[in-house]
């Protein structure tokens, strides 16, 4: 983990409600694992006051640049869009948190994402491809144009299933596709991000199959690097959910096993 001033390479509209920021950050990019995040100070100013945490969307093959896909939500992301332009630099801390674990012997995995939660997954798809692991993607969003990064998952050769709330199709949840495919496919691990409903579904499937499943979580953060105790969520401390406890998303997470967070 380090703090750097990362020169902005580009900051452009991605699709739907999403924007894509790319910065020069060799040391951070080289150290990053899929699922980890960076914490960005948008301006050296009191407004916004706190940093804003974002999953890393992708790292370039040379591992010198990293991308963040973000949704304009409030003041911070609005200023991020307006002020982080080429010629400026972005004060960034990273890599932060614990990333996804891809089992050594995995052959086929499923990536399940909803909305901006999808943004935590492309780097994992890239890693899987590099290791010869097939990844199938199951993406949902409120509207079709918010299906961020579908082309990335497709580019690695796995199947990509999508579901948009605004477009009638034959499934209720994108996990219906997952369950159908799982009837004939032996997944070695499952990964999910973006919706508690999806996490529960993925966790059930993982339990039934006895395979690992992980989810990337979000929580409001003050520091992002473990100093403030601020970003806890309540998790299961055992698989049966008999004992519960708090865990910091920035430190123990953002990636948790789905059994930890299935009823978060």
């Amino acid at each position: 983990m380090e703090q750097i001033d990362a020169p902005v390479v580009s900051n452009v509209h991605l699709t739907g409600e999403y924007w894509l920021l790319e910065v020069e950050a060799p040391s951070v990019a080289a150290a990053l694992e899929p699922g980890q995040f960076v914490n960005i100070r948008i301006r050296d100013s009191l407004a916004p006051f706190l940093r804003r945490p974002f999953s890393v969307y992708r790292v370039n093959p040379e591992k010198t640049r990293l991308q963040v896909a973000y949704k304009i939500l409030g003041n911070g992301t609005r200023l991020m869009k307006e002020t982080l332009q080429p010629g400026t630099a972005c004060d960034l801390i990273g890599p932060l948190g614990k990333g996804f674990e891809l089992p050594e012997d995995a052959k086929t995995i499923a990536l399940v994402g909803r909305g901006i939660g999808i943004a935590a997954l492309p780097m994992l798809a890239d890693l899987a491809a590099a290791r010869g692991v097939t990844s199938h993607a199951f993406l949902s969003a409120r509207s079709r144009d918010n299906l961020v990064g579908a082309e990335i998952f497709a580019s690695h050769g796995g199947q990509v299933f999508t579901h948009a709330d605004d477009t009638p199709d034959d499934v209720a949840l994108v996990t219906d596709h997952l369950l159908r495919m799982a009837e004939s496919t032996a997944f070695d691990a499952l990964y999910v991000c973006g919706s508690n409903r999806l996490i529960r579904q993925v966790d059930q499937l993982a339990r039934a199959r006895g395979i690992p499943a992980q989810s990337a979580m979000e929580q409001h953060m003050a520091c992002g690097f473990g100093d403030c105790h601020g970003c806890i969520i309540e998790v299961n401390l055992d698989r049966d959910g008999d004992t519960r406890g708090y865990r910091e998303v920035c430190h123990h997470g953002p990636v948790f096993d789905t059994w930890e967070v299935a009823n978060a």
């Binding site: 006051f49 706190l50 003050a222 473990g226």
Partner: protein, 315 residues
């Protein structure tokens, strides 16, 4: 090279900069943005004498020029603190002032005794921002009698330098500080973060899991400076000043108001290099202004003809 060292409550600090308890690292573990030995003393997060999970989420929230938070001082089991954290803290090459809290007078006395026995600390800070449930929930630190009893009992339990930390309260500030002085504390620290609340206009409910939280960061600095300035005139104990400190100019501001040492708090979450940068800039500023001893700054904002109460216990 100007002299940045100070002695406060008998603790020798190579410079006047420290951290607000709870804003830099878990007990034995710190973020590694700069060597912890850069600062003059380390104040780790408050420890309770018993395990406690802390408050439910959501715990933190951005507010104008500040942070609204309610972490609730989660504490690891004492055995773990004793066997893992304390040795790590003891091994550091700087004075460590451990902050402690209890829910009752007995618990305060207990945790002071136990921390003293660990033989790992240069001093102890009593976090008085705990609601005294026997007295209608008012903080111990807002009640001169409760504060007097707490500090007196702590004094009996330890020979370590004792610092009492106060949250900002206008009416009780001076009487409480006088009570603390009379009870034998060696220094005061202020301000702890004042209580606050944010309500979500969508849900009409408080935004923080605990309902009530604290306010910290630059937003509170002008109040904190006033409090330090006021106490400097009222008591003779040295002061650890804090509340919204972010730059070397803030350090000078607190010292001029009367603080002998200055703590960086919330700013470290946003700008983790703030403390080492301020140290560098403070030193450069002293050189530029021909100030060769940092203690010359302490209380400099008070009128020339103002005389501070004479220090009783402290060198």
């Amino acid at each position: 090279m100007p002299d940045l060292s100070i002695t406060i409550a008998g603790i020798e600090m190579k410079n006047p900069l420290t951290v607000g308890s709870g804003t830099y690292g878990h007990h034995g573990r710190f973020s590694q943005f700069f060597p912890v030995e850069t600062m003059g003393a380390l104040v780790p997060k408050t420890i309770r004498p018993h395990q406690w999970p802390g408050n439910p989420p959501q715990r933190v929230l951005e507010v104008p020029a500040g942070l609204h938070s309610s972490v609730g001082i989660p504490s690891i089991p004492w055995e773990q603190f004793e066997t893992e954290d304390a040795p790590r803290l003891k091994a550091l090459n700087l004075p460590v002032i451990q902050s402690v809290i209890g829910r009752t007078e007995d618990e305060y006395a207990e945790v002071v005794r136990r921390c003293t026995e660990l033989d790992a600390f240069a001093g102890l800070e009593l976090n008085l921002s705990c609601p005294n449930l026997k007295q209608g929930g008012l903080d111990f630190g807002y009640d001169p009698e409760a504060a007097f009893r707490l500090v007196s009992r702590a004094r009996q339990q330890t020979d370590l330098p004792l610092i009492a930390k106060l949250a900002p309260d206008y009416s009780s500030l001076v009487p409480v500080a006088q009570a603390i002085e009379a009870a034998g504390a060696d220094a005061v620290a202020l301000v702890n973060a004042p209580r606050a609340m944010c309500i979500d206009a969508d849900t009409l409910k408080p935004m923080i899991g605990n309902g009530v939280g604290a306010l910290s960061g630059p937003a509170i600095k002008p109040m904190a400076v006033y409090m330090v300035w006021t106490l400097y005139r009222a008591i003779s104990l040295p002061i650890f000043g804090m509340g919204g400190v972010a730059t070397y100019r803030d350090v000078i501001e607190f010292m001029a108001a009367g603080a002998a040492a200055v703590a960086f708090g919330t700013v470290s979450y946003v700008d983790p290099m703030a403390l080492p940068r301020a140290l560098r800039e403070l030193e450069a500023w002293m050189v530029q202004n021909g100030i060769d001893d940092v203690t010359q700054l302490v209380g400099a904002a008070h009128d020339a003809d103002f005389e501070r109460p004479q220090s009783r216990r402290v060198a």
